[in-house]
């Protein structure tokens, strides 16, 4: 009996080869990064900017691990994060910061946006002999990888993942330079209360709010924070409507907006990714209803440039949290850091965004701590002792506002949980189809429009 004819065999082999080729490439850039672990930042992006002549002849080279989602669902943001880290390393290697006198060698690992891969890659970074790790964007990946770093005794700096639980464990080796989810929620309310007052609206007149959120950790934790602090800023406000939804599956938001229309809350807080944020605003326009303020909490979907691109003028007057916008550089305090964004612009053809800025800052803070460890006489050759020295240095790191690059806030990691209490999250409003910082008020080049025109 003929099991399979020759033609079918040839087809099967062709398909197998195609599958293998596709599979190889589909593994994403992470696999390639794994091979090229010794690539230094100066080799990667240094061609665009010449090192300054003040570079000492011989400087200690320190390996720092970078753990990011460079493929998978969060690849886009992971790559943006990497740009921030690489630029910070480049500036350090070029002696742009006189207080940092060593060179960084980045060892890059890809989490593929997966927890198990993240943990495996962290172990590999440990074996590569990195003195500390920075990463890993997704809270769901940062949490288990930070736990593994704690077990190993490897200093871990989280510059962007915001889940509260990461710094709630009392871990000795884990430090967060950015705000946590509760602080994002707190700042959302703080910003909106300040904006209302600045526009002559009494916060007591805000009687009703609605909370809409995607139902992963990100949405749930941020919304829990909003519930916790709501009455601190809006004493008479009541949650009249609350709804969660699966961001990946949602195909229509008509029901939610119809219910909101009936409840007619003054403020709508929406924790969303891009697609659901766009769909929600589209549906509000379709059903002809809008609140006094539609506020994107958590600096996610509404903070993306695509949000405005897709909605056009319908995006106007919406608010969104943002970690960083070039508007900051217009302020007196922060204008001295404009050269960083100019360098970023030279390399990537556009300004930094929140992700790259946060990671730049995280790398800088880690570098300051490593320098402290070196200054204390710790020997980088004794890896275990040096890691402990870096950990100790991180624990005593305090950088006042104004001295920290790019950000209007400072860093204080001396607190027991290593959660920087000084980080704040700005609020932007979309005006003339452009994101403008409107809070903190002292860094806002324009005044917010509140309430939004109907």
């Amino acid at each position: 009996m003929s099991f399979m004819n020759a033609k079918a065999w040839i087809l099967a082999i062709v398909l197998l080869i195609v599958g293998l080729v596709v599979g190889y490439f589909a593994a994403g850039p992470g696999q390639v990064k794994t091979v090229t672990t010794t690539t230094t930042v100066t080799e990667t992006v240094g061609v665009t900017t010449q090192p300054t002549k003040t570079t000492p002849a011989k400087r200690v080279e320190i390996k720092v691990g970078v753990l990011l989602p460079l493929s998978g669902d969060s690849a886009l943001i992971g790559q943006e994060d990497l740009r921030g880290i690489q630029l910070a390393a480049l500036h350090i290697n070029q002696s742009k910061y006189p207080n940092i006198r060593f060179t960084i060698k980045l060892v890059i690992a890809d989490t593929q946006t997966k927890q198990d891969v993240g943990v495996t890659e962290l172990r590999r970074l440990d074996q590569e002999g990195v003195v500390a790790v920075i990463g890993a964007y997704n809270s769901a990946v940062t949490y288990p990888t930070a736990a593994e770093a704690e077990r190993i005794g490897l200093p871990y700096v989280d510059p962007e993942a915001i889940s509260d639980k990461i710094t709630a464990q009392g871990w000795k080796y884990v430090f967060r330079t950015c705000a946590n989810a509760s602080k994002y929620a707190y700042d959302t309310l703080w910003a909106m209360a300040d904006i209302a007052k600045a526009n002559g609206v009494d916060v007591k007149s805000i009687k009703s709010v609605a909370l809409i959120y995607e139902n992963s950790d990100f949405g749930v934790f941020t919304t829990n924070g909003l519930k916790k602090y709501l009455n601190m800023f809006f004493p008479n406000a009541e949650i009249v409507y609350e709804e969660s939804y699966p961001a990946e599956e949602v195909t229509s938001m008509d029901d939610m907006v119809a219910k909101l229309k009936t409840k007619n809350p003054d403020l709508v807080f929406h924790v969303a990714y891009l697609k659901d944020a766009v769909l929600f605003v589209q549906t509000m326009k379709k059903l002809g209803w809008s609140p006094k303020a539609y506020v994107g909490a958590g600096a996610a979907g509404q903070a993306r440039v695509e949000f405005i691109q897709q909605l056009g003028s319908y995006a106007n007057y919406g608010y969104t949290q943002t970690e960083w916008l070039p508007d900051f550089l217009n302020s007196k305090v922060l204008s001295k850091w404009a050269w960083i964004d100019q360098d970023f612009n030279r390399i990537y053809g556009r300004s930094m965004v929140g992700s790259s800025a946060l990671n730049y800052v995280g790398t800088y803070v880690l570098a300051v701590a490593i320098q402290k460890a070196l200054d204390s006489g710790a020997d980088p050759g004794d890896l275990k002792a040096f890691r402990n020295a870096v950990r100790d240095a991180l624990e005593t790191t305090k950088i006042p506002a104004g001295e920290l690059p790019l950000m209007p806030w400072g860093v204080d990691l001396t607190v027991p949980n290593h959660q920087n209490p000084e980080a704040i999250v700005a609020m932007a409003q979309i005006l003339n189809e452009r994101l403008r910082v409107v809070w903190p008020l002292e860094f806002a080049p324009v005044k917010a429009v509140f309430p939004a025109p109907s």
Binding site: V22, L76, V250, Q310
Partner: protein, 331 residues
């Protein structure tokens, strides 16, 4: 956990009562709170979810055709839909053409791709023993290849294009909808009628029906069955490609895995409708749309799938041939 949250929300226990306005009027004082939605909003939501259901019907049409005629489940259906979305994105952003012209381009391109796929991966296995299972596996392979290629070529970053259709609204008797959704719904109806008429009146269409009903008999009367299968698969994929473009006009999510959102709905629609029923697809689509709407209106968003799949299970148990399919008689 969910139920705890749910109970805390004021008015939610009354939501079932609120859904029936007459009942609420009778015991309005007892229930208290504001109604879950305004009375007028019911019409709005009914229309919105009917339109969404119509689009579900369109996304399921190609799948139904392939499943009904070839008795083969096309696991890559959602990925062809995704390719249609990208065709819309690239043609609109690069060539600046109208997305509805892109729908024609997508229909042709995806049709050709579908035929190519059929020649390479379906036809060699379809007539072998266990051919239907083999088809399922080969289409699963195609799905993985298409998704991986899309990730390599276009990255996981979601894309969309600005079009005035989705930001322009129609209002009829107080009911509003976007022009993009209204057009997608109309094209769904037109496509379904066109496919039905094609199957009834055009020679090839009649041959497709013959193959669907009795492939051996069709071969006996001289129909080139492999050619008909090729055309059916091509047409099914072409319809998926067109549906992808239409979805992209109002759904802001063009990315390599975007098809999965719509293909699950498509499988449910086809099973609801029953195999081989073209008009059934639109009615099943609308039914699912309305069920989703009811789930969310009466309860919450978490219930939308629960209600759909509860009815889905009931149909499988009580009427396995689908709502509009014909039962096979045991001889």
């Amino acid at each position: 956990m969910y139920f705890q949250l749910h109970r805390r929300r004021r008015g939610d226990f009354t939501s079932l009562i609120n859904f029936f306005p007459l009942l609420r009027i009778r015991i309005g004082k007892v229930t208290g709170g504001s109604p879950l939605i305004e009375l007028g909003a019911y019409t709005q939501l009914l229309v919105s979810y009917t339109i969404l259901g119509g689009v579900y019907g369109l996304t399921a049409l190609g799948l139904s055709l392939i499943w009904g005629v070839m008795k083969a489940v096309n696991w890559a259906h959602g990925d062809f839909l995704m390719l249609g979305m990208y065709v819309a994105f690239w043609t609109v952003t690069l060539l600046g053409i109208d997305p509805y012209i892109a729908a024609i381009v997508s229909f042709i391109l995806l049709g050709l791709l579908g035929m190519m796929t059929h020649i390479i991966a379906i036809e060699p296995v379809v007539e072998k023993p266990g051919g239907h299972e083999a088809t399922l596996l080969t289409t699963l392979g195609i799905s993985v290849i298409l998704e991986s290629l899309a990730l390599i070529l276009w990255s996981p970053s979601p894309r969309s294009y600005y079009n005035s259709y989705k930001n322009t609204f129609l209002e009829v008797l107080g009911v509003r909808t976007s022009v993009a959704e209204a057009i997608a719904f109309m094209i769904s109806i037109i496509s379904i009628v066109a496919v039905d008429q094609f199957l009834r009146r055009v020679r090839i269409g009649k041959a497709i029906r013959a193959v669907s009903q009795n492939p051996i008999g069709a071969r006996v009367v001289g129909i080139d069955v492999p050619r008909i299968r090729l055309m059916t698969f091509g047409l099914g994929v072409a319809l998926a490609g067109m549906a992808g473009v239409l979805v992209s006009t109002f759904y802001p999510n063009i990315r390599p895995l975007a098809g999965s959102v719509w293909d699950i709905a498509s499988y449910v629609v086809v099973i609801f409708a029953g195999l081989g029923t073209i008009y059934g697809v639109i009615f099943a689509g609308i039914l699912i749309g309305i069920l989703e709407g009811l789930g969310t209106i009466i309860f919450s968003n978490a219930f939308r799938q629960i209600l759909v799949y509860a009815v889905f299970l009931m149909i499988l148990l009580l009427r396995p041939q689908g709502l509009f399919g014909k039962a096979l008689r045991r001889v």
